[in-house]
Amino acid sequence: MDKKICAYICTGCGIGEALNIEELSGIVSGEMKTECKDHSCLCGSEGRAFLEADKAAGINTFVVCACSPRVMQTEFDLGDDTITVRANLREQVIWSAGQAEEGSEDSHQEWLNETAGDYVRMACARAKKTDLPEPYLLETLHKEILVMGGGLAGMTAAREASLAGSKVTIVERAAQLGGKALGWTKQFPTKAPYAELEAPTIGALIAEVEADANITVVLNTEVARIGGAPGNFGATFKPAGTKSEWDAPAKVGVDEQDRISKGEMEDPNAGLKPYAKNNGDAQKFGAVVLATGWVPADVSGYEHLGYTDNDRVVTNAEFEKMAKDGKLSGMNSVAFVMSPGGEEHDQDFPYANSVTSMVALKQAKYVRENNADAKAYILYQHMRTPGNMEMFYKGVQQDDGIFMTKAAVTSVTPSGNGCTVVAKNTLLGEDLSLDVDLVVLAAGMEPTTKHENSINLAYRQGPAFLDLDLFDGYADSHFICFPYETRRTGVYTCGGVRKAMNMEESMEDATGAALKAIQCIESADRGVSVHPRSGDKTFPEFFMQRCTQCKRCTEECPFGALDDDDKGTPLPNPTRCRRCGTCMGACPERIIGFKDYNVDLIGSMIKAIEVPEDDEDKLRILVLVCENDAYPALDMAGMRKHKISHMLRFIPVRCLGSVNMAWIRDALSAGLDGAMLIGCKYGDDYQCHFVKGSEIANKRMENIGDSLSTLGLEPERVRSEQVAITDYDKLPQLLNDFVDEIVELGPNPFKGF
């Protein structure tokens, strides 16, 4: 695109009164050699018409020097064929200036103009370096969805996707569809008044799936590996229970690869095709829904409950089978034990969620329905029947053959043909000793991902989901706000593999996962990113000739978007990419960049900052700010008119992970006196939208501190901070304290070199 740039300074919202507009225009037209206009209210209808007229006259790159880029986005969007760059003069300059101290009105005004001047310079520099994005489009887009697992969740996902017009293949390990639900005698109530158990619906769902022309069912089969990327996944199938040379290779890190080549370590992937090897026979899919379900948790470790050596102690899953098989005769008194902690703790069995409470209620009803004189005892610490299931609980309470009490079960021992259950701290005001025919333990539901890779990706970063331990083995990387995120684009989990849930919840979850799969394929079709930068048309481009195969980008990508070849040269998969720029931040050769966001672009913005010499009142400190949380917090600080030091210059970044340390070095060698990164919280409860960005940036900053010392610069001149979006009242203090420290250190000794 042949760029025609014009800058527009809005004088509304007090900007015109607070700043010397003539001087700013002079900077744009003189120093930045860019045409400049001003307007009294650029976002209003007249202002907008003013911009439209210029567009008609050929301007295609608009530098809008007005309010924060977070507001008036639509007003300043002049269309897909134009570029808009914003300079934040309102929130970040005039609203953050504070009041002049008495007697220093002149220097206050001077500082204010200098700050505004730098934001205008940076915006002009950015405009010059920004190009229009061209979306990445796959040569052939495959739209069929692969569903792994033919149980309730998998079949629901397939059926729901089909109802929206998608083609689906279900791969099921077993010889039949249905999964665990085939074994359920009855289901929880799903509608008001939530009183009666319902007949199983799994048979009807199987029939629907089998009759659905959009759905292909492949039984007795497993997925050996999945390579490729959204819109173009290649899945290799194999007979269930067999090994294949196409099994997904284990992750081999850089160090391990070294040791393997030196013969110091056995190759875990011997006999397997390399992960990046393309199987021509693989079936093509656009997205994957993982619905491999759960396995009953092992309860043999709870010795006081006697599961291992007492055949009158069974798990809830085993009891369900007994009921299904009609083997409840003689079970005239059954105790359900909800919590294994005895007097130690009051938690339920691990991986129980609230399902096991409801299962116990259901199974107690089986006992009663089998024999009207039978008794069921439910010994719980906390009865967990959330939402409408409370009404089911209330209904079961009406049955005078079902006894329920809070209780700490301390032992289960054999006695006669049954067991004796001893419990303390009951609601009956005394310890309890029950003789029963059978004890049922409320074992949890462990996700298959706790035991195996399940998803079997042939990816550079390995076949499994990452950091599962943070989420108890569940692939749920953006838990709370964005439940379908797995850090593997185009792969969505649902049902028991993501959380212990009942059938109704599972079906709803599967429906959501089907949507995400369809959405990912549609996004790939449009060449745009999925969440969190939904709709972003840019993608990282690599100048491979200068790649040194350092492997940092392939290692650090939080979404595993980059594979590599034998030499270690990255093989980008743009449809896996979330556009966070972590690869760009990682690259020491600066060869990765986006059309509107790259090392040179931000570097040029930094170079555009005017660095006054020999003036201790005019130090300059660069602050690279994560645009997701920290930048809004900064805006809010401005809205609240908190004073922020005039020495700071803020540049928003996509994620701190995208910050290339070259920028810090450039800034300090250009004579800036300090540099700071502000991003999201990291750690177990990370708030980084790209999961790892802020954590990685912090590590990089630690390393750069060391290299600064070797140059004779104080490592204290650089810092990395974590803030939450609501830290707007704390942020000014944090920034101003850093400024004070830099002032204490004095000007950058390299200034002027």
């Binding site: 009865m383 967990r384 959330p386 429906t511 369809i518 996004s523």
Partner: protein, 419 residues
């Protein structure tokens, strides 16, 4: 509706809280046109009033911000605030929906500069903060409000105030003659994501809400703890601004009770544990008493509970609160029976926090919109009619479950457009 992009149907999402935002965005990012209507002047709904989410203790505005960004970046979503559904006619695939937009008295010229609020002499109760402080009659509903545009409460504006506000606006954005607008849209399917309302605590006579400043609700605590709240983050007893030295949490205030809400409200146990962290952060020594029936913190929430139950200054009592007695010194005495020991408990505290339950908003102010409701006012999804529900409009749920539900509802709504 067929638009220039050639899609065959638009979707209406009623309610711009976390569920509605999620449903609208997920559908629009598939490629459908979406109308998102919200009755408040701002998007974000109930979660925008929360200080933090459990169990990560992260601010909801973090997730909202990115959802707002997604909306700004997506031309397929049209948002209407201060807008409600007046009527629905037609059938699946072609519903005609009449929307009514209440006057904001501030037009699209507003730059959110804040001059009107600065000039406005009149104050009104701040509803966003449950009336715990005042805002100007020309105001931004809350600090992170999206859209970032001011609102005028005309009833709260004096004649002088009207003149001052009009004079202060340099952009001619104040329009006190603005009228209610109606418009009719055509959509293929409708998702009700109308959310929940805290159960009215005055309905429980024994809990004495309104009779003592020491009795507050859990949602009021959220606002107090929030940095932009009425007390700038301090938890103080309303009225005398006392820093409480003791707190009682009254669980199931309205929930699991046939006379009030027969179901379990799902979130209140976790909300209480979360609010214990707010208290601890501010008052490391304060005594906390939690009166409960069951502690419903299943699955991954157990770890969070475990950590807080280890707190030496906190006591957990299994027992439903029978009465709260208002004391002369400004405090209250909470009366309950310990279900395990049988002991009668009279616990005097400086502040009692009612863990009020979740009532579907449709139970209180039902829309005439063709939706099917159960006896508690939850909206039941009906695939045949294409009138669906998401989040707490369909069941009591936490945020993550609401988002799953909203994503599922989005697909069901899309299916109607593709039939």
């Amino acid at each position: 509706m067929t638009d220039e992009q050639g899609t065959t149907g638009a979707i209406l999402v009623v309610g711009g809280g976390i569920s509605g935002l999620t449903a609208a965005l997920e559908a629009a990012e598939v490629g459908n046109d979406v109308f998102l209507v919200e009755k408040n002047a701002y998007m974000g709904g109930r979660v925008s009033q929360l200080n933090q989410y459990f169990p990560k203790l992260c601010p909801p505005s973090c997730g909202l911000e990115i959802n707002f960004k997604r909306i700004k970046d997506n031309r397929r979503i049209r948002t209407y605030t201060m807008t409600t559904v007046k009527s629905v006619s037609g059938g699946p695939g072609n519903y005609q929906v009449t929307l009514e937009t209440a006057p904001r008295y501030v037009n699209s010229n507003c730059t959110a500069c804040g001059d009107c609020a600065a000039a406005c002499p009149d104050e009104i109760d701040n509803e966003f903060n449950f009336g715990m402080n005042k805002s100007k009659a020309a105001y931004l509903p809350h600090e992170m409000a999206f859209p970032r545009r001011f609102v005028i409460n005309k009833a709260g504006l004096s004649a002088d105030g009207a003149a001052a506000v009009k004079a202060a606006c340099k952009y001619d954005a104040v329009d006190l003659d603005m009228q209610t607008e109606t418009r009719t849209i055509e959509v293929a399917s409708i998702i009700y994501a109308t959310g929940w309302t805290p159960y009215d605590p005055t309905k429980m006579d024994n809990l004495k809400f309104g009779q003592s400043n020491a009795i507050v609700t859990n949602m009021m605590i959220e606002r107090m703890a929030a940095p932009g709240g009425p007390t700038d983050g301090a938890i103080l007893r309303p009225g005398d601004n006392k820093e409480p030295e003791s707190f009682a949490f009254v669980q199931c205030a309205g929930s699991r009770d046939e006379n009030h809400l027969e179901y379990c409200s799902y979130i209140c146990c976790m909300a209480t544990f979360k609010q214990m962290t707010y208290i601890r952060e501010r008052y490391p020594e304060a005594k906390i008493y939690v009166f409960y029936i069951d502690l419903r913190t299943p699955g991954k929430y157990e770890k969070f509970r475990e950590k807080l139950m280890g707190d030496a200054n906190s006591t957990f009592i299994k027992g439903k609160v029978a009465d709260i007695i208002v004391e002369a010194d400004g405090g209250v005495t909470v009366v309950a029976e310990n279900a395990v020991t049988g002991d009668k408990i009279h616990q005097k505290v400086d502040m009692a926090i009612l863990a009020t339950g979740m009532q579907p908003t449709q139970a209180i102010a039902p829309v005439n919109g063709g939706q099917e409701m159960d006896s508690n006012g939850f909206v039941v999804s009906n695939r045949a009619t294409g009138i669906l529900s998401a989040g707490c409009a369909c069941k009591a749920a936490d945020v993550v479950t609401s988002n799953q539900s909203a994503t599922a509802a989005a697909l069901k709504a899309i299916q109607v457009t593709r039939r």
